[in-house]
C-alpha cells in the first residue's frame, strides 16, 4: 500500500477543493454533524472512513506474511493489504495488494474478517485466499515474504492488531474445521 496507515492528516481541511477559498467547520442545515463548509461557494466537504483490504494467502498448512519495508511498523510482519482504490471492487483490491506486496497470485475465498479501526477512520477487510503457486517475491514495500506454519508465526512482530486478530480467527477456525465471517472492533490499527 502506498498510503500510510497512520495518515490522519488528510482529515484536516483548510481550503475548499472546489474553489480554493477558506473552509470552516459548521453543522449544515438538516445535518447533525460538523462538516468543513466553504465560506465562498458553500460546498460541503463530507469525510468518511476508508477501507483497507487484504488477503490471508494459504499454501497447505502455511500462511504467507510480508515483512514491511515502509513505515509505520518497518520490519514487522503483516498480511498483504492496502487502501482500496477508486474503480475497483474489494476482491480486486485484495488481489492487487497481494500481487504488489508479495508478488503472489491467489484464488480468493470468501471474505473472512471485517474489523473496525475507529480511531484511524478505517475498516479492514481480509479475504481468505489460496496461493496459486510458490512464485512469490517481496514487492517495493516488503523486505521479504515468507510462509509460516502456525507454530512459527512471529506473534510479537505482527505489524497491526487487525492482522493479529485475523490470523487468530483463522487458526481457531481451522482447528474447528469451519470458516465463518468474523467481525470485531479494534481501537488502533
Amino acid at each position: 500500500m502506498v498510503q500510510k496507515l497512520s495518515d490522519l492528516a488528510r482529515f484536516l481541511m483548510k481550503f475548499c477543493s472546489a474553489c480554493g477559498h477558506a473552509v470552516i467547520l459548521r453543522i449544515p442545515a438538516g445535518d447533525q454533524r460538523a462538516r468543513f463548509v466553504c465560506t465562498h461557494c458553500h460546498a460541503i466537504h463530507y469525510q468518511n472512513p476508508r477501507n483497507v483490504v487484504g488477503a490471508l494467502p494459504v499454501w497447505g498448512d502455511q500462511v504467507l506474511l510480508c515483512r514491511r519495508a515502509i513505515e509505520p511498523r518497518y520490519g514487522f510482519w503483516t498480511l498483504p493489504a492496502g487502501f482500496m482504490e477508486l474503480g475497483e471492487t474489494t476482491a480486486q483490491a485484495a488481489r492487487r495488494e497481494t500481487l504488489e506486496e508479495a508478488g503472489a497470485r491467489v484464488e480468493l475465498l470468501p471474505l473472512f474478517s471485517l474489523l473496525n479501526v475507529v480511531r484511524a477512520h478505517q475498516v479492514h477487510l481480509f479475504y481468505r485466499a489460496r496461493l496459486i503457486d510458490l512464485d512469490v517475491r517481496a514487492g517495493d514495500e516488503s523486505l521479504e515474504v515468507r510462509l509460516f506454519k502456525e507454530a512459527q508465526i512471529p506473534w510479537e512482530q505482527i505489524a497491526f492488531r487487525t492482522v493479529d486478530q485475523t490470523l487468530r480467527f483463522f487458526f481457531a477456525d481451522r482447528q474447528d474445521g469451519r470458516f465463518g465471517l468474523h467481525t470485531a472492533d479494534i481501537e488502533s490499527g
Copy 2:
C-alpha cells in the same frame, strides 16, 4: 442519509485542501495511479471508495422498508442505509441510519451482504436486524415506513439495485433455512 448516493462531484478536485493552491493530476513517484497533487505544497490527495451501511430489519415474517423523501429515487422504497461517518463502526452506522430514517431500534444480527458499486465508488454493507418493537416512524428523509411480507414487496419500486439484491438474497436464504454472507458486484447503485 444526508449525502446523495449519486454525488460523484466530490471526486473532482481543483484546489489543495491544505494550502489552497491549484492541484494537478499526476502519478507520484513510487505510485502507479494519477492523484491530485498540489503544485505548491506537493500534498498528495488520495481518494478512496466510501461505505454505505444499512440494515434489513425484520419483524416476524415481515421486513421494514422506507419510502424515500429525497432524491435520488424520491418516492421509491429502500432499506434504511447511509454513508458511514468518521468515528463510528459499521454496526453503529447501521443502527444510526435505521433510527434516523425509520425511527426504529434494532438488534443487529450478522453482516448479511457486501456489494461493490464500482462506478459510484461505493461499497454497500447490510446487516440483518431484528426490530425491537413496532414503534417506528418516518424520519426526515422518509415519506413513510412500512412492514412488508415477501409477497407484498414492491419490486418495481425499489430505489437501489443493492437493496433489491439484498432483499432477494434474504428471501432465498430464509427459504433455505440458513443465512450466510453474500457478496456481489453491481454496476450502478
